[in-house]
C-alpha cells in the first residue's frame, strides 16, 4: 500500500455507510428537511414565550439513541437550544 493511501481519508465504503445511516433516520421518521425547519420554527415560537433563546444557534436533528428498555436503538429528536436570558418578569 502506498504511503499516500495511509493518510487518505475514510474508505468510500465507510463514507457510504455513514451517509446512508444519516439519511435513513430522517427517511424513516418521515422527516424531510422542510418538516424539520417547520418544527424548528415552532419550537422557537413556543420557547420564546418563556425565555429568550438564541434562534440562530438552535439546532435540532433526528438521531439514534439507546432505548431505555434495552431493545436496541430508537430514533430521538435531539434539540440544542441555547438560552440567552430567562424572562424574570413572565411570572413563572
Amino acid at each position: 500500500m502506498a504511503l499516500a493511501d495511509f493518510f487518505k481519508k475514510k474508505n468510500s465504503g465507510d463514507v457510504a455507510k455513514d451517509r446512508l445511516k444519516f439519511v435513513l433516520v430522517s427517511d424513516r421518521a418521515n422527516c424531510s428537511p422542510e418538516v424539520m425547519e417547520k418544527i424548528k420554527n415552532d419550537i422557537i415560537n413556543v420557547i420564546s414565550k418563556y425565555m429568550e433563546i438564541d434562534a440562530e444557534g438552535l439546532d435540532i436533528q433526528i438521531t439514534q439513541t439507546e432505548s431505555e428498555n434495552n431493545n436496541g436503538t430508537v430514533p430521538a429528536l435531539y434539540a440544542n437550544i441555547p438560552i440567552k436570558e430567562l424572562h424574570h418578569s413572565s411570572g413563572r
Binding site: 465504503g13 427517511d27 424513516r28
Partner: protein
C-alpha cells in the same frame, strides 16, 4: 401448500427480473411447480430474460379482463415443463389491473402451482401495489449502493405496512475486490442498515450478462452467480445452506476445465 413470493426493490436496474428468472428456474430444478408473473405492465422484460418472447399469445391484462383463460396465457418453459410464465402486457399501463384482481389471480394459481413468483416493477406506485397485493412473502433485492439501499429501506417499510409476513434480503452484484479495498459496503453493513434477514448474496458476474443475452437463466451452472441463486432456492425451501465464499480465486485448473466444457 403453495406460496406467493414478490421480488421487489424500489430502485430499478438492481436485478429483480434476473432474480425472478433464476430463482424461478432454480425452484423448477428442485422439482417444484412454478409460475412466474411479470407485473411490470408496459415494460415487460421477464419474457426476454427467460428466452420465451416469441411464444407470447395472451398476457396478464388479457387474463384479468377475461379475454382468455389463465391456462391459455401461461407459457411453458423450454427446459422445465413444470415452469410457466405469465407475461405482462406491453401496450397497456399499470392502471389496467387492480390489486384486488391480482390477488384473485394469484389465489387461483395457488391451486395449480407450488410457487408463484411476482416480478415487481420499480417504484412504489400502483404497479408495486398490484404486485404485493397477493403476496405471502417478499424478496427485496438491493445492490451495495446508497441509492439502492435507501429505496430498499422504503420498500421494506411499505411491505411491513402491508403485513407481508416474511421479508428477506438479496444483496446483488457484490464486488469482492471493491469490498476488500474498502470501496464497497460489505454484506454485513447492508444487513445492519436494513435490519432484515439475509437470504442470499449474488456476486457481480459477467456470466449473468451472457446468460441474459442468450435467454437462459444461469442457475444450476458452475458460475458463481449460478451457484448463489441455487443456494437461494434451497434456502427458500427451508434448507440451511452456508453462504458461498465469494473470495475464492479461480485457479488455473478450474479455468482450464471450464474451457473444455
Amino acid at each position: 401448500m403453495s406460496e406467493v413470493i414478490v421480488i421487489t426493490s424500489g430502485k430499478g436496474g438492481v436485478g429483480k427480473t434476473t432474480t425472478t428468472a433464476n430463482v424461478g428456474t432454480g425452484l423448477a430444478q428442485l422439482n417444484k411447480k412454478v409460475v412466474l408473473i411479470d407485473t411490470d405492465i408496459g415494460l415487460r422484460n421477464l419474457d426476454v430474460v427467460m428466452g420465451l418472447e416469441n411464444r407470447i399469445v395472451y398476457n396478464l391484462v388479457d387474463v384479468v379482463e377475461g379475454n382468455c383463460r389463465i391456462k391459455q396465457a401461461l407459457i411453458k418453459d423450454k427446459k422445465y415443463p413444470d415452469l410457466a410464465l405469465l407475461p405482462s402486457a406491453q401496450t397497456r399501463d399499470k392502471t389496467s389491473v387492480t390489486p384486488e384482481q391480482m390477488k384473485k389471480l394469484t389465489d387461483e394459481l395457488r391451486e395449480e402451482f407450488d410457487y408463484i413468483l411476482l416480478d415487481c416493477p420499480a417504484g412504489i406506485e400502483q404497479g408495486f401495489q398490484n404486485a404485493i397485493a397477493g403476496a405471502d412473502r417478499a424478496l427485496v433485492v438491493t445492490t451495495p449502493e446508497v441509492s439502492a439501499i435507501r429505496d430498499a429501506d422504503r420498500i421494506i417499510g411499505l411491505l411491513e405496512a402491508h403485513e407481508i409476513k416474511q421479508t428477506q434480503l438479496i444483496v446483488n452484484r457484490l464486488r469482492m475486490d471493491m469490498v476488500k479495498r474498502g470501496d464497497m459496503m460489505t454484506v454485513d453493513d447492508v444487513c445492519e442498515i436494513l435490519a432484515i434477514k439475509l437470504i442470499g448474496v449474488v456476486p457481480d458476474d459477467e456470466q449473468i450478462v451472457i446468460s441474459t443475452n442468450q435467454g437462459e437463466p444461469l442457475v444450476g451452472t458452475d458460475a458463481m452467480a449460478g451457484k448463489a441463486y441455487a443456494n437461494i432456492c434451497k434456502r427458500l425451501l427451508g434448507e440451511e445452506v452456508p453462504f458461498l465464499d465469494l473470495d475464492k480465486k479461480e485457479n488455473v485448473f478450474t479455468k482450464l476445465a471450464s474451457l473444455f466444457k
